[in-house]
Symmetry: D3
Subunit: 132 residues, 6 copies
C-alpha cells in the first residue's frame, strides 16, 4: 500500500458545550496543523499516488472554508462540539467529496482511503480515517 501526505494549517475560534470541557467551555481558539494522507494499492501511470500539487490545493481550499472563523457561528456545526477529532472528520469528508467530484483528477478515483490528522499542539493530535 502506498500513501502520500500533504500538510497545511488553519486557525479557528470556538467554544465547547459540556462539563467535561472545563475551561475550554470559554471561547478560545486553536491552530491546527493539518495532514491529509491519500492511500492507494498501486501507483498511476505517472508513478504517483496523487498529483501532490492538486492534493495540496484541494486541502488548502477545504481549510479556507474554516480558517479565520469562529466555528460557533457556522451553521454546519450547530449542535455539535467542534473537537479536534470531529474536525478531522469534517476535513476528511470534504476532501473525499472533492476526490469523488474529480477535483484531484481522474486517476485519484482509484484512491483507497484517506486519513486526516489535526495537530492542536506539540502534545495532542487527532485523526479520522475513512475509505474512499
Amino acid at each position: 500500500m502506498f500513501s502520500v501526505t500533504v500538510r497545511d494549517q488553519m486557525m479557528i475560534a470556538h467554544s465547547f458545550h459540556g462539563e467535561v470541557f472545563g475551561h475550554a467551555q470559554r471561547l478560545h481558539g486553536a491552530t491546527y496543523v493539518v495532514d491529509a494522507t491519500f492511500r492507494r494499492v498501486a501507483l498511476d501511470a505517472d508513478d504517483l499516488v496523487v498529483d501532490i500539487g492538486r492534493a495540496g490545493e484541494e486541502l488548502h481550499s477545504v481549510l479556507a472554508e474554516l480558517t479565520y472563523r469562529n466555528l460557533d457561528e457556522e451553521a454546519a456545526f450547530a449542535g455539535t462540539n467542534t473537537t479536534t477529532e470531529a474536525l478531522a472528520r469534517v476535513v476528511a469528508d470534504r476532501l473525499a467529496d472533492r476526490v469523488h467530484a474529480g477535483a484531484l483528477g481522474e486517476t485519484a478515483r482509484e484512491l483507497e482511503g484517506l486519513v486526516v490528522t489535526l495537530h492542536e499542539s506539540h502534545i495532542a493530535w487527532a485523526s479520522y480515517e475513512r475509505p474512499l
Copy 2:
C-alpha cells in the same frame, strides 16, 4: 476510525543482557517521549474519542511509576530486557488496565484499541498496538 493522541515523557536508567546489545549492556539511560493513541469507531455524546484531560492524567500516572528510576532494580522487569519495544507494551498494558477499570470514564469503555509509541531519540522509536 477516530483516534486521539497525547504526549508525555519519562527518564529512566537501565542496562541490557545479551551480546546483541554491545555497549548498551552497560548501565545507561534514556528519555522516552511517549505517545498514547486511543482509537474508536464512533465519537461519544460529547463528540470525543476520550476526555483528553483524563487521558493525559492517566498516561502521566502510568509514566510516574517508571520515571526517575533504575529499571534494573524493579521487580516487574526481572529476567527481561527493558527495550524500547518492551516498554511500549508495558505502558500500553497498564493504560489498558486503567481504561478497563473506568479511570478514563464510562464512555472510554467503548474504545477499540490503543497504540503506545516511545521515541528514544530523533532517529529511533518503537510502538506497541493492542485492542481494548
Copy 3:
C-alpha cells in the same frame, strides 16, 4: 553563556484591527507553543541555570492567565493588536516580573536575560528577547 528552555502552550481567540491583517480581522484563534529561555553567565551552586521545575510552573502560571480566553475581551490588551510578537513580549515581561519577585528562587535573580518564542504553526513563529 548558558541557557535553559522550557516549553508549554496556550490556546486563545482574538481578532486584529487594520487592513494589513486581511481575513485575520475576523475572530479566529491560535495555539501558541511557547518556549521560555533563561540565560545566565555562570551556573549556580547546584550546577543549574534555573530550577527547571519552578521555571516550568511559572511559565504555566503565566500562560494560565491567557489560555482559553478571547483576548479581545481582556482589558490588558485594549487598543493593541495581540499579534504573536506582541504576545511574546507580554509573556516575557510577566515572566520577568516573577523572576524579580523571587518566584523562581534566589539564585534566579542572577539571570541575565530571557527569550520567549511563540510558535503559531509549523511555518511561523515570533520571539521577544529582553535583559533581566
Copy 4:
C-alpha cells in the same frame, strides 16, 4: 503488534517526465529523511523486534546505493519516474531482500512487515507498506 523504526537520509538529483510535474520536469533534487519501520507480532528472545544496530546499518547501506547520485542516470530507474512514493517502494523492497537474505539476523526472518516513509520536506511525505 510491535514495531521499531530507524531514521536516516539520502540526497539525490532527478527530473520527472509528464506534464503533471510542471517545473519538476527540470533537473532538481531532494533530501529524503527516510524512516524504516519493522513489524512483528511477538518479540524475540532478547525482547527485540530487530537488532536496531543492524537495522540501521542495512538501511544506511540501501540508501548508500542511491545517495549523492543523479537518479536519471541509474539504469534501475529507466522508464520510470522516481517520485517519492516510487522511491519508498524501492527502499522497502531492497530492505526486504536483505531481511530475506539474513542480513538482519535469523530472528528477523519472523518479521511480519515493513513500512518505509520518505519525507521530502516539512510539508510532504510518502510511504510504502509491504508484508515480509
Copy 5:
C-alpha cells in the same frame, strides 16, 4: 528585540568542487527547508515586526528563483560551491534587497537584521545573519 520567522522550502540539484566534498562532488540534490527571521527593536503601529503575509510572499519569490533548478548551470553561482551556508547568504542577501526596495512595506525599512537558516536534513543545517 523582536523577531518573526516564516518557513518555506526549495528543491535543487548541484555538485561540489573540491576533495573535501567526497561523494558530494557527484551531481546530487537537496530539499532545503528555509527559515527567514526578521528582527527589529520596536513593533510598528500595527504591533507587527513585519507583515507576515508579505514576508512569506517575498521569501517564496526569492526561493522560486532557485527551486527546481540545477544550480551548476546558474550563472550567478559560477566558480563557487553552493554549500548550504553559501546558499543561506544568497537567500538572505536577496531578501535584504527586497526589504530595501520596499517590497515588504514602508515600516519594514526599520528592520534591524535578518537571519536565514537552511535545513538540509534532520541532522544538519546552516545559517547566515546580517544587518539590514
Copy 6:
C-alpha cells in the same frame, strides 16, 4: 555571521545531589539529542564554515566518551551535578579542544565560536555558548 549545525545523540545514566532535584536524586537516565553549532565571519576557500563530515565525526567522538555510561561513576564529574546545562559545557569545551588541536582541519582554526544544545525531551533543552 555564518553557522553550521550538526546533530547527534547520547544516552546516559546519572543522579543528582541536592533537594532542588526532587525525584531526580534517584538514579535515572536521559537521551540527549545534541546540536553543535560552529560559527565564523567568512567562509573558507571551499565556501564552507567547517567540513561537515569532520564536524560530525568529532562530535560523535566526543559523545562516544559519554554515551552508554553511568556518569555518577566518571571521575571527570566527581563533585558536580551533570545537569543538562553542565553537560552542554562539557561537550562544547571538549569540541573546542579538538578544534584547537586541528582535528577539524586548518581552516577550522578561524572559527569564532561554538554553541552546544542538549535536548533532554520535547519540552526542555539547554545550551552553552563560547568563543573559540
